[in-house]
Symmetry: C2
Subunit: 402 residues, 2 copies
């Protein structure tokens, strides 16, 4: 008997289930493992032998789960410690693998999960345990190194771009519209906020200002720009990452942060409201609205990017093949061959190359004033997000003027 187990970790995305279903579908095709088990709530559930037998799913069910947001197997925020600090846990895990004839463990998650893959594969190699550990990348934040872009990002970026476009049109209906701020996820890296720059109306970008964690927030420069735009059109649209920081590295929203999660990350929220306060106190205008996109960014499957769904599915299938080829301690990844026509190739990288690293946005993608994204940089984002809706309003349609 040769079985494997797959589990999900960290914040859900719209396509993390597509990855698990891709793996299952590939095994149904190549029949390398007798059963594909799903571990509930990540490594937490595996330690409790909380398994589902995914090989019982019908083709129709696989299709349904593939097109479902959230983590179908449940998730966890549990970071595996080093072997020295957690011997019992490591030993228990390998006992469980032995008991259930598990020869491979697939972990779909971000850089913390790939750290688990790295640690367990190193331990197994040392002890001669014949269990493969393979990572499947996932994160809406797109902050994973080596891989061109993380599965989950394209769908979140699509949700943000469409929401920016639609809320932009809504925000300019009055004669004096004030300032509209949309706050996106992205604690460390600005990829999600940057994707707000994809929204355009009649060739003009909706977002006048895009604020990223990578560019230290300069209040004076920011207010000057807000005032300029406001004077020109009595309307300013801002997209801001939750992770906007000051020069000293502290979060703009820091005064509103109350807690840290179990990985020691500051729990954020509130950059938008912090900016609102700054603008209102400056006296530019008191009309400032804030939209926090919150968890819908990562769960709004109805706006999932088809490219993202299919890539996530393929990366899951490729992870299975990596185990079949005897690999361990690696992550199934993709590299971009070209932007247009969009083309990728699938390959692998050592888990250590992804574990605990963060891929920031390169400053070459940012405009000189630090408050928007260059037009050239958008070529990176466009194929991941797909076509946006085409809308037409009339109040600036001069050809109709009577």
């Amino acid at each position: 008997m040769r079985n494997c187990v797959v589990a999900q970790s960290g914040g859900p995305t719209s396509v993390i289930n597509a990855s698990v279903m891709g793996l299952l579908a590939k095994n149904n095709e190549v029949k390398f493992f007798d059963h594909v088990f799903g571990g509930l709530n990540g490594i937490e559930g595996i330690l409790k032998e909380d398994f589902l037998n995914l090989s019982l799913l019908t083709e129709e069910e696989i299709e349904e789960v593939k097109h479902t947001p959230s983590a179908a197997l449940g998730s966890c925020r549990y970071k595996l410690k080093n072997y020295e600090d957690s011997k019992e846990e490591y030993e228990k895990l390998f006992e469980i693998f032995k008991k259930h004839d598990i020869h491979a463990f697939f972990y779909a998650g971000g850089n913390d999960s790939q750290d688990t893959v790295r640690k367990l594969s190193a331990y197994a190699k040392e002890r001669g345990h014949e269990v493969s550990f393979i990572g499947i990348p996932k994160t809406v934040d797109n902050d994973l190194e080596v891989i061109d872009h993380a599965p989950g990002f394209g769908s979140a970026a699509r949700y943000i771009a469409v929401s920016v476009l639609e809320s932009y049109l809504d925000s300019l209906v009055y004669t004096n519209n004030g300032v509209f701020i949309t706050e996106t996820m992205g604690r460390d890296a600005g990829w999600l906020a940057a994707s707000g720059a994809l929204a355009t109306y009649k060739g003009r970008r909706c977002a006048d200002i895009v604020l990223l964690p990578e560019v230290p927030f300069d209040e004076e420069k920011f207010l000057k720009r807000v005032e300029e735009v406001y004077k020109e059109k009595q309307h300013v649209y801002i997209v801001a990452s939750e992770g906007v920081r000051l020069k000293d590295g502290s979060f703009l929203a820091a005064t509103k942060a109350h807690a840290h999660d179990s990985f020691g990350h500051a729990q954020l929220g509130g950059a938008g409201n912090a900016l609102k306060n700054i603008i209102q106190q400056s006296g530019i205008t008191s009309r400032v609205k804030v939209l926090e996109l919150s968890t819908l960014q990562r769960s709004a499957f109805h706006l999932a990017s088809p490219v993202d769904v299919e890539e996530a599915f393929t990366l899951g299938g490729r992870a299975l093949l990596l185990a079949k080829e005897g690999e361990t301690g690696v992550v199934s990844i993709l590299k971009r061959v070209s932007d247009a026509p969009y083309e990728v190739t699938y390959t692998k990288t050592e888990a250590k190359n992804i574990a605990n690293h963060v891929k920031y946005m390169p400053l070459s993608m940012v405009t000189e004033d630090g408050m928007n994204i260059t037009e050239e940089a958008l070529a990176y984002f466009k194929p991941l997000v797909g076509e946006l809706p085409t809308y037409r309003i009339l109040h600036h349609y001069d050809a109709l003027k009577k």
Copy 2:
């Protein structure tokens, strides 16, 4: 020369442009008016003779505008005073109508706009001005009397139902998930919050608790229910209207309200955060997340309800026919013939029947404990919202248990 003017007022919806395009398309068909003008920014722009000639739009452009959220002509929050307090304005308006050969004025808006229709039609009748005033109903809040449901509501309700479903799936991935609160619009009436009850997963309603402005908030009863549900499954999903009120009629979010709009309505926001504070202070759990759907409820055309779009379009066309038939001081409305199969008829009502009235949710639609919607009541909402996506997660799929 016989022209007409159409304008939009109040908060935008996903389908208020469909109504204007329905009117234009009907005139292109019956050719009753030589030109259909669009007044920019509601009555504000008309007083400034700020017109577009909508009859110049091509069929393709009409289709595009029909499928665009926001107010394509711009909007205003300007409430026309009584004639006695504003003689000059009334006289100026009729001078402008005369100057541009305008024989009908169509106003798409909520109960404040229908009050404008009522006032101007009464004034015109008294003075013998041959100008028709016809209302086209619109409001995401669904709080208009007489009409079965307001155009704009179905699309907002659809956005809310899908967002509740997707954020619900996202909110239950951990072993202890705490409380998730989604705050909807609906200052006076609970229709929008109630539509959150449409979201179901595997036949079970996602929302454990739905809080409406119509049912006075009882903190003790509320906390008891939250605790019960939390004890049962370590997860509580709450949908709350921004207009949740205490027994004395004051808003739960009142301490956070900073302003009043120009109609004297309290500017809300914060019912969700108020509930979060109440739950956290009760000691039930500190894990409470709040999602404020904000303006996306009324502008997310990508999730517009097809029924809503077509009804809004038809109501616009019917408004034109009412003017052609010599009506004035009336509103183009629809009545429901049956829920299933869903069928409506189009008719009219006096503007005074809608102006300044508010249609609350009947308490017969609310469960006995006042904290959810009855199953029977959902028959009213379902045809307006349409089918929701079908998703499948696995962590409660017992047939797969190993």
